[in-house]
């Protein structure tokens, strides 16, 4: 094979890869671009917000940059969600192993009863226990975010055909092999759905966290409500909405493009 044709093949492959990448991820990508544009361009849109609040001196929220607020928001949600995934999936796996099976009914009940608790209430309860600031928010998000993940992981694992598990054991797979090669891949779509629910709730609850002293995209809204400045409120609300939609559409794609889901 000549060098020239080799490069062109490679080139075509890469070009095809890009096209595939773009078509697959176009929706979240568009939302992301919009989110970033507004995050960095908000301060140049004074004219627009002047229409909303013609009488106020300041129409752009300037206490902290929107980029920093977005970063804070993502950080809090990211840390809490990551820990919730690790702990939630871990706990659900632990209580479905022979050693932890005794705990399964209680954990399953707890996860389903816990989801009845409103996330705001959980956030509010975290403050008396842990004080103001970012830490109680992360803990509250983590605790609440655990529930859908635990619940879905349990559902995903118990939804696996008994015959498949039986065959896996009968073929001589070890417990670890069954978990990694059979159970987790088969439960993955359901687990992913749980993570999606958890992250969506976390983004929303984190915003309310602005009332307990965390600085994030909820800040402009709260400050706008306190000061009667609708422009602030709109700025915060638009960015949070875009953030939530970007992340959600990302999960939507992830769920849709699992190669073996059908």
């Amino acid at each position: 094979m000549s060098g020239a044709s080799h490069t062109s093949t490679l080139h075509r492959y890469l070009a095809g890869g890009w096209a595939l990448f773009l078509t697959r991820w176009s929706v979240p990508l568009i939302w992301l671009i919009l989110l970033l544009l507004l995050t960095f361009g908000m301060s140049h849109m004074e004219g627009v917000f002047r229409l909303v609040e013609p009488d106020t001196r300041e129409v752009i929220y300037r206490r902290t940059s929107f980029a920093a607020l977005l970063g804070q928001h993502l950080l809090v949600v990211g840390v809490a969600s990551l820990l919730a995934i690790l702990l939630g999936v871990g706990a659900a796996i632990a209580v479905t192993r022979p050693a932890g099976r005794d705990f399964q009914p209680m954990v399953a009940q707890l996860a389903s009863i816990g989801q009845t608790f409103p996330p705001v209430a959980v956030l509010a309860l975290a403050v008396p226990a842990l004080g103001f600031g970012t830490l109680p928010i992360i803990v509250a998000l983590l605790l609440y975010g655990l529930l859908p993940i635990v619940r879905n992981t349990l559902a995903g694992l118990s939804g696996i055909d008994a015959g498949v598990r039986e065959a896996a054991r009968g073929m001589g797979m070890t417990g670890g092999q069954i978990l990694r090669q059979v159970e987790l891949p088969l439960a993955a779509p359901v687990i992913l759905a749980g993570i999606r629910t958890s992250v969506t709730i976390n983004i929303a609850t984190a915003a309310i966290g602005a009332t307990v002293g965390a600085s994030n995209l909820g800040d402009p809204i709260i400050s706008g409500i306190v000061n009667g400045n609708t422009a602030y409120i709109v700025q915060g609300a638009v960015l949070i909405g875009l953030l939530a939609i970007t992340i959600d559409s990302l999960f939507d794609r992830l769920q849709r493009h699992r190669p073996l889901s059908t």
Binding site: P105, V120, A124, A129, A207, I208, T211, G236, I245
Partner: protein, 388 residues
């Protein structure tokens, strides 16, 4: 089904061990001279002495012993002991009040410490575990709470006046009652409206399949937007509308208050309502409908007498999800002046008055749990009462 393993119940053993540790190592109560000064924490043995505090571990140790080689009878006794413990907690608090009370400080406030919160949580987990193992029915589970509530009521009405949470309540009991009423009214109005709109939308979707994709797309989109953002986004246009049209303003519509809250609540409630109604109606076994038609029922009769009753439990499930969700979201709506129990939470957070936060948060959780249980029980009844 009752599954009682012959081995020891490790769940109860762990719970009771953790309970003993938290009783011995964490602060049980705190006493503050007034609302502003932070309280001084006290461990259990500082309140009642080592002997008594060790003695009060006996019920938990007894439960652990019963869990060592469990059978149905022993687990029943353990459940009884747990309920007794839960009912005794307020009485113990009352004892703590009398032990720590200082006549020179009439405004003294008793705070519930981490040890008691942890114990409360662990004991409730224990009740859940035993309820599952013994296969008790839902109503039986609720019946178990009666002595506990009685204990709290008795203690609160007689001896627990210095309890900080109770003091906060007493300071604003009228406000509290009206907040609960307001909260429920808003939830009811939102769920009622979304029930009407949702069911009609679901029916329309069944008739016009084109509407289905678009409808679910929009509703999913709304559901994704965080509550605080949606409240905020509704605020500007509503304020503008109210400024434009006087009759709207005279109805009480404005950028803040109940109007944006109600609209947002309805928006959020539509997705679960429409989805459950649609799925419920679609999933009725076609053979049943066919046989109804085959027996000579008209289309209308088949819908009203067969499809709708069969779909009802799943639709009610939608109402349950919607109601529980709305109870939580209404709390957030307090931020935009919609009133309700959320007001206490955010007031409390603003004043760093944690007991006020609790006064808002605990009833909200209780409302959500009760709504969930009631609607769940109703669904169950409908399921058993003829359907499927």
């Amino acid at each position: 089904m009752t599954i009682i393993p012959r081995r020891s119940n490790r769940v109860l053993l762990c719970l009771m061990l953790a309970g003993v540790l938290s009783w011995l190592m964490l602060d049980a109560v705190s006493m503050a001279p007034n609302r502003i000064v932070p309280g001084t924490p006290h461990r259990a043995h500082e309140v009642m002495g080592w002997w008594l505090s060790l003695l009060s571990l006996l019920p938990m140790l007894a439960i652990a012993a019963l869990a060592w080689r469990p059978d149905t009878g022993r687990l029943r006794v353990a459940l009884g002991l747990l309920v007794l413990l839960l009912a005794a907690m307020p009485l113990w608090l009352a004892a703590a009040v009398s032990a720590l009370a200082d006549p020179s400080m009439p405004q003294a406030r008793l705070g519930i410490g981490p040890a008691l919160w942890v114990l409360l949580f662990l004991w409730l987990l224990g009740v859940i575990e035993l309820r599952t193992r013994l296969g008790l029915s839902r109503p039986m589970g609720w019946l178990l709470l009666v002595p506990v509530l009685l204990g709290w009521w008795l203690a609160l009405s007689r001896w627990l006046e210095p309890l900080a949470l109770y003091r906060e309540y007493q300071g604003r009991s009228d406000q509290f009652i009206s907040a609960v009423g307001h909260h429920l009214a808003l939830v009811g109005a939102a769920v009622g409206a979304s029930l009407v709109v949702g069911v009609s939308l679901a029916l329309a979707m069944r008739r016009f399949p084109g509407l289905r994709r678009a409808g679910f797309g929009v509703l999913n989109f709304i559901q994704t937007i965080p509550s605080l953002a949606l409240f905020g986004l509704l605020l500007a246009p509503l304020a503008w509308l109210a400024g434009r049209f006087d009759w709207l303003a005279s109805l009480g519509v404005s950028g803040i208050g109940w109007a944006p809250a109600w609209l947002a609540l309805v928006g959020y409630s539509l997705l679960p309502m429409v989805r459950n109604t649609y799925v419920a109606l679609e999933e009725v076994d076609p053979a049943v409908i066919e046989s109804a038609r085959g027996m000579g029922m008209s289309r209308r009769q088949a819908f009203l007498q067969v499809r709708l009753p069969l779909a009802l439990p799943v639709m009610l499930e939608g109402v349950r999800i919607t109601t529980v969700q709305a109870i939580g979201l209404t709390a957030v709506a307090a931020l935009i002046g919609a009133g309700g129990l959320g007001t206490f939470i955010f007031q409390g957070l603003g004043q760093a008055a944690m007991d006020l936060v609790l006064l808002g948060a605990l009833p909200i959780i209780a409302l959500a749990l009760v709504a969930d249980a009631l609607l769940g029980a109703l669904t169950e009844r409908l399921r058993h009462g003829g359907a499927s």
